[in-house]
Symmetry: C2
Subunit: 216 residues, 2 copies
C-alpha cells in the first residue's frame, strides 16, 4: 500500500523556460509553462495533497485545479527544506514528493510507479544530471537543487546512511528545457502540452537529424 | 514466467558513432563502441540466445563473450525482418528481442522489465523518435528502423491490430550518439563504457549548462 504523500510542485511564474527563447516568444513560453503544469497536475491529482510552490502572483483560477498555492520568496532549496523541516516537526505524517513542473510526458502510471518504489529516498534523474522527481521518506534528507543535482542528492543520501533508489523512467526523465525536447512532447505527450505545441504549428519532421519543425 | 527469447543486437563495426567525431578520434570511437557492446551483453547475457548482427569482419575474440555472430550485408531492416520471417517459418518457438548496441546505461533489471511487459510488441523509445529496444511476440510484425522509427513501429503495430506497449525506461532510452550523451554515462553508467570514458579523461563539470569536460 502506498503511504500518504504531500506533493510539492515548484513552479516558476516569470521568465520560465528561457532556453526555449530561440523558438518561442515570451507569451508562448508562458502558455507552454502553464500547459506543462496542467499535465503534471493531471498525473499527480488524487494521489496526495498538492502544493504549488511559487513566487507571489500565481492565481488559483489559472490552474484549473483546486490546489494549494504556497507563495515564497525563498531560494528553491530553502523553500523545499523548510517544508521538509515543517513535516519533520509534525512527526512526519506524510512523505514528501517533489515533482518538477515541466514533466510534460508524465502520466499516472509513472507517478504510481515511483510512489510504489522502495527506498528512504527515491530519485528520478533528468537528462544532464538533474533530478526531476524526489520521493522523500526520511526527515533527515534535504534537497540540493543546483547544477548537477542528481549526484549531489545521491551523495547526500549516502552520507546520511539512507537507502537511495534510482527510479528509471523515460517519461519522468524528460524535462522540457531545450527546443529538441519539444519533439519528445509531440512524440509521446499525453495531454495539454502536446495540443498547445500543435496549435503553435510545431510538427515532427522525418528529415535528417532534427525531428522538430514549425509551419510558417 | 518470461517466454524464451532470441536476442538480436545489431552492431556497426565500421565508422560507428560518427556524431561523436567532434570529441573522439576514430580509434576512441571504436573503443567506445566495443565498450558499449560489452555493457549491453552484460545486461542481456543469460536471458536468451544472443546473436550479434554485423557486417563481415567482427571477431568473437573481440567480444569477450561466447555469442553467435551473424554476418549480413543486408540493410538493417531487411536483415532483421529475415530473422523474424525465419522464426515465423519455424513456428515461432522464441520471441525476438532487438536491442541496440549503444545502450550504455542498460542493466539486467531494465531488460527483465521489458521481458516481463505485456503486449504483442513492446517498444522502448529512445530520444528523438528512435526505438532502442523492441520485443516482438507476433510473427506478423516487421521493423522499420529509419528516421523517426518509434511512431512508425507504433503505427505498423496498430495497422496489424497488434497490442503495442510503451516501455518506459530512462536507462534504455539513452542511446549514446551525441557528445552530451557521454555525460549520462559518467552520471549513471554501470560498467565498461564509463571506465573507458574516464580513462580517456572525461569528467563531469558542474559549471554552466554543459556538464561534460575533458582533462587536457
Amino acid at each position: 500500500m502506498q503511504r500518504q504523500v504531500r506533493i510539492v510542485v515548484p513552479f516558476k511564474l516569470k521568465g520560465a523556460k528561457s532556453r526555449l527563447a530561440s523558438v518561442l516568444t515570451p507569451e508562448e513560453r508562458r502558455l507552454l509553462a502553464f500547459a506543462m503544469l496542467k499535465d503534471v497536475l493531471d498525473a499527480i491529482f488524487d494521489l496526495g495533497k498538492v502544493t504549488i510552490l511559487s513566487r507571489s502572483g500565481l492565481k488559483k483560477e489559472d490552474l484549473g485545479r483546486d490546489v494549494d498555492i504556497l507563495e515564497s520568496d525563498l531560494e528553491l532549496n530553502d523553500a523545499l527544506n523548510a517544508l521538509i523541516e515543517e513535516q519533520a516537526g509534525q512527526g512526519w505524517q506524510f512523505d514528501i514528493f517533489i515533482v518538477m513542473a515541466d514533466l510534460a510526458l508524465l502520466n499516472k502510471d509513472v507517478v504510481n510507479g515511483i510512489l510504489d518504489a522502495e527506498g528512504d529516498v527515491v530519485l528520478c534523474p533528468g537528462r544532464g544530471g538533474g533530478t526531476n522527481m524526489i520521493l522523500i521518506r526520511s526527515p533527515k534528507f534535504r534537497t540540493c537543487y543546483q547544477g548537477l543535482s542528481y549526484p549531489k542528492h545521491l551523495a547526500y543520501a549516502h552520507d546520511l546512511g539512507l537507502n537511495a533508489a534510482f527510479f528509471d523512467s523515460f517519461r519522468a526523465g524528460c524535462d522540457i528545457d531545450e527546443p529538441e525536447d519539444l519533439a519528445e512532447v509531440l512524440l509521446h505527450g499525453p495531454g495539454e502540452t502536446k495540443s498547445v505545441l500543435e496549435s503553435m504549428g510545431f510538427i515532427l519532421s522525418d528529415k535528417g537529424r532534427k525531428c522538430l519543425d514549425r509551419r510558417a
